[in-house]
Amino acid sequence: MKYLQLIWTAMFRSKTRTIFTLLSVLAAFLLFGLLDSVRSAFANAATSVAGVDRLMTVSKISFTLSLPKSLLPRIEALPGVAKVTYANWFGGIYQDPKNFFPNEAVADNFFDLYPEWRLSQAERTAFGNTRTGAVVGESLAKKFHWKLGDKIPLQATIYPQKNGGNNWTFDLVGIYRAADPKRKSEENLLFFNWDYFDEARAFGNGNVGWYVLKVTDRKLAQQVAQALDALSTNSDHETKTQTEQAFNAAFVGQYGDIGLIVGAIMGAVFFTLILLTGNTMAQAVRERIPELAVLKTIGFSNHSVLGLVLAESVLLILLGGAIGLVLAGVVVDAVRAAVGTAVPMTRVGAAIWLRGVGLMILIGLIVGALPARRGMRLRIVDALAGR
């Protein structure tokens, strides 16, 4: 520690060069932070359902296939199940396909399972009592300047009405707010009554898109999921029960092998980075050979010179990398606030920092190794003579 001042001064001996190198290290670790955040979102989601109290049941084959509503009483009867609700994707378009927002037909107890979305008791009653009632998130209502009592027309993409028409009109009876202000992005959905939907749609009647259930005890989640999927084994509507994150990740994961893509990109980035900073360190040591010789003359051992150079290169990468990861954290938070769970990203937390810092130290040691060896081996007489 007592040499920190010495290392620091040596590092900023050539300011421009060090700052440029820091900026390249920063760019590399910014990219690492962003990509690792996406990668870990997928990796974490694949883990088990244990310890989560809300599960989602969809068709095992594809979430585009629906499930019979007749499963409902059988799910409710399972031990460990506290509450069950169900919903259907509607996929309606408001005025123009560019105005896309998710809209779903939901059962009347839907908001009981989503306490993180606040809807007043009066509005909840109104939603239950109004056949054509709809509830939207506050952000969505603001975007389209909707207020309570407005009529909202949606163009069906999947479900025409029994009379063949594609126009569905809903009465806005409630506006929900996300309890956590950081999750404003979840206020972009529209919900309407499943009973009305099922009665008016031309086909698919009696089927639901998916079930959402709450378990009485988190510890039972795994067991409930297995028991539930066993209900429909070998039928023509086998189910798959998982957490919402796992569902999202499986969906996006089908677009491609995220781990492979991230791994390949990071490989290219770090290979380049090692070469680049390695060159900088070699340059820095070459310029300082007489100084290192002086250090040795005044009594620094070979090993402390080796240590000094290695410490300098590790410090250089750590400094640039840390700023890069902080920046990545800011960007990830901004993206999460803007688009929510649509892009799976975990916060740049302890796990990512741990991997990042490990990589920084490793890369620092690799790029410092050759120059440090050169510094260690130099002969005082030759170095001072400039040979």
Partner: protein
């Protein structure tokens, strides 16, 4: 004191603007403009006095590169990395787009329920499907039957060969005249499925990506057993699908007599407008009509855009790193040559040849790096086959296409990085005080 600082700030802003302008030209310029610029530059170095000076200084610079091999390779490898990643991701987007675009033509049309946009959302009843095929613009075969295929798209789950995980595969029920509708489809193994039988044929891409679809193997669809009897190659997105008889698929999935869409061959590409107008004015129908080219092109737009944005974001962050690497290298190069540059200035060389020579050297290194990265990407990824989720929420198999436009974009990026990385050191070289440079050891 204030005066020189102001001036250096002014020149910094000036050079930043120049750099930004040059990059904009580089990115936007078509190839012939750049070729013309290169030719002009060559002419300039040969004809004018300053140009000849510039070339001779550049030659000296290039000749000393072997002495700074390590440092120069930083520029080359750094830029090669950026270009390789950029080209790979752009080739992925291009391949996906091309696969879907090829799946459609302008003289075939797809008819779905109005508002459905994709086949998986669409349901057409039996009467509508019949009416749609009877329109006068639909081409008829020798027997006088309309060349139309009522089709039904359902989803099956098959394990991927790459990771063993279940993925969704599209099973397309096709009508008996699907073969004359899509003459490009060839049976490459086994035979066609028999009408009315629970038999499937598997597309070339699906056969490569999924296990359990070899000839003679059986798979379960909605609780019933189906046999794979053949394999086909269509050269487009249909290669990701399994095909069977529409009526049997409908029976298996209890769809009654309804289908999802009808695809018809028109008498010509010019008949589409009349066909679309005819269906739209028929009071018995509520359908939307698109040429299959338009239908498949729309499907590829969103994902291809997403991949491009991803590629450009990643490459841009990497490019920032590469720019600083190049700056470091070239500043060091200028510093080691400061005495030589000062000598040149002292014997009458102007600033321009010095600037041009450093810039040219960096750009040549960058070009080498760009070519290396593009070649690397081409060797690894050209025709590399992957699959992703299409708009029916089923897997679409496609191959990367490292095409000339993609390679060209990569090279342009390389040149842009070289330009920024070389410009500032070049200006530094031109401003070196001659006396101080000569005195330097």
């Amino acid at each position: 004191m204030g005066q020189p600082r102001m001036r250096s700030l002014g020149s910094l802003i000036g050079s930043l603007i120049t750099a930004a302008g040059a990059i904009a030209v580089l990115v936007l310029a078509p190839w012939w403009l750049l070729l013309a610029a290169v030719l002009l530059l060559a002419l300039w170095t040969m004809v004018t006095r300053i140009g000849r000076q510039a070339w001779s200084v550049t030659e000296v610079g290039l000749a000393t590169i072997p002495q700074r091999l390590g440092a120069s390779s930083v520029v080359v490898v750094g830029i090669a990395g950026v270009v390789a990643v950029l080209v790979a991701l752009l080739a992925m987007a291009a391949g996906f787009e091309a696969t879907l675009k090829q799946s459609g033509t302008n003289d075939t049309a797809i008819v779905m329920r109005a508002g459905a946009h994709t086949e998986i959302n669409s349901v057409l009843d039996h009467d509508s499907a019949g009416l749609v095929a009877q329109a006068p613009q639909v081409l008829r075969n020798e027997q006088g039957q309309p060349i139309a295929s009522p089709e039904l798209v359902v989803v099956a789950s098959l394990p991927k060969k790459s990771n063993g995980l279940d993925a969704n595969v599209e099973v397309r029920g096709v009508g008996e005249r699907a073969w004359s509708l899509r003459p490009e489809v060839r049976i490459i193994a086994g035979r066609k499925f028999g009408p009315g039988l629970r038999e499937l044929i598997v597309g070339k891409g699906a056969r490569e990506q999924f296990s359990g679809v070899d000839l003679g193997s059986t798979l379960r669809l909605n609780g019933q057993t189906w046999t794979v009897v053949g394999a086909f190659d269509s050269g487009d997105a249909h290669n990701s699908e399994l095909w069977a008889d529409t009526d049997v698929v409908a029976a298996t999935y209890r769809r009654g007599s309804s289908t999802a869409s009808v695809t018809v061959r028109l008498t010509g590409a010019d008949a589409f407008d009349a066909y679309q107008a005819g269906l739209a004015s028929d009071r018995r129908l509520t359908v939307e009509t698109k040429t299959t080219r338009a239908y498949y092109t729309d499907q590829s737009a969103a994902l291809a855009r997403l991949i491009r944005i991803l590629g450009i974001t990643v490459a841009a962050i990497m490019a920032i790193g590469a720019v600083f690497g190049a700056l470091n290298t070239m500043y060091a190069a200028v510093a080691t040559r400061s005495r030589e540059i000062a000598t040149l200035r002292a014997i009458g060389f102007r600033a321009v040849p010095v600037i041009v020579s450093v810039l040219l050297e960096t750009m040549l290194l960058a070009l080498l790096g760009g070519a290396l990265g593009a070649a690397l990407s081409w060797v690894i990824f050209n025709h590399y086959t992957v699959s992703t989720l299409g708009s029916n929420f089923t897997e679409v198999v496609f191959a990367f296409q490292v095409s000339p436009p993609v390679l060209w974009t990569g090279l342009k990026w390389a040149l842009a990085i070289g330009l920024i990385g070389g410009l500032f050191p070049a200006l530094r070289a031109a401003r070196l005080p001659v006396t101080a440079g000569l005195r330097e050891l």
